[in-house]
């Protein structure tokens, strides 16, 4: 129905796919506000391009490719601000046995580690580990060889683990 131009039906698709689309855009852009702008651009681009969508193929990868491209376009257009890594003293101030503080510290470290990755590594690890895409699907989505995606996921995971290791030791 959405493919036939039914705005309500497409709205339901937005409802279903918005969380993953916003996370992917966030992975590209590094901040939530820009990610929402990009995700909205992506959904609108998908709405306009529905006539060219092949219903025989899965909808989500098709949509996600549009959203990731929209996020990359926005990044190029705006030279968007990156998420600034938190200064070490702020992280040190939240250390302690308290669970919430511990989780907050983990989120901070995770944010720093993500910001230190390349854009492609961020997208690859997000789509692979958080969204459950296969390497081949990510490769097609990003327009790179599958081996490149495997390498990106490998290096991104290693960097994340290294960044989170001190926290794990401290939190025990």
């Amino acid at each position: 129905m959405a493919a036939a131009g039914d705005a309500d039906a497409f709205g339901r698709l937005v409802d279903i796919h918005a969380p993953a689309a916003r996370r992917a855009a966030h992975a590209v852009l590094g901040n939530a506000d820009d990610a929402d702008d990009a995700a909205q651009d992506g959904f609108l681009a998908a709405w306009r391009a529905l006539g060219g969508y092949d219903p025989a193929r899965p909808f989500r990868p098709w949509l996600m490719r549009i959203v990731v491209n929209a996020a990359r376009d926005l990044r190029r257009r705006r030279r968007v601000r990156h998420t600034e890594p938190l200064p070490p003293q702020r992280a040190a101030g939240t250390r302690g046995p308290d669970h919430d503080a511990s989780r907050a510290l983990l989120r901070d470290r995770l944010g720093e580690a993500l910001a230190a990755l390349t854009e492609r590594q961020r997208v690859a690890i997000t789509l692979f580990d958080a969204e459950g895409y296969a390497h081949a699907e990510i490769a097609e989505l990003l327009g790179v060889p599958e081996g490149t995606v495997r390498s990106d996921v490998f290096h991104a995971r290693r960097a994340m683990r290294k960044a989170l290791a001190p926290y794990q030791e401290e939190s025990r």
Partner: protein, 119 residues
């Protein structure tokens, strides 16, 4: 409390559930309903989908194509010589061939022989 991240096989085809959960949590967008409402409003404000554009194009397009076909048909129709409209049976009847012969004739040769024979 521990936050174990990533089992050893980083080149494998299996997502790291623990890391995936942390990433989803970190990248989790707030205000889902507000975002969906914002996108729905933007879609409603869109002038038209490609289907609408196609439909708008199609109506005059089909009318124009029909007009062109009609004009071409008329042109070709005028250029063709008009058919005589005389059938073989009419000709045989005019030549005085008996109707029985015309009805029973298995081929044009029989009819022609009958006509020539009369003459």
């Amino acid at each position: 409390m521990t936050h174990e991240v990533t089992p050893p096989n980083d080149f494998g085809g299996t997502p790291d559930e623990r890391l995936g959960a942390l990433l989803r949590e970190h990248l989790a967008p707030a205000g889902h309903a507000a975002f969906v409402g914002r996108v729905r409003a933007a879609i409603a404000a869109e002038p038209a989908t490609s289907w609408d554009v196609l439909a708008r194009w199609a109506r005059p397009g089909v009318a124009a194509a029909a007009g062109i076909l009609l004009a071409l048909g008329l042109l070709f129709g005028l250029a063709q010589p008009s058919p005589s409209g005389v059938s073989l049976a009419d000709a045989a009847q005019a030549a005085g061939v008996p109707a029985v012969l015309v009805a029973d004739a298995s081929s044009t040769d029989v009819l022609l022989a009958a006509v020539v024979g009369d003459e």
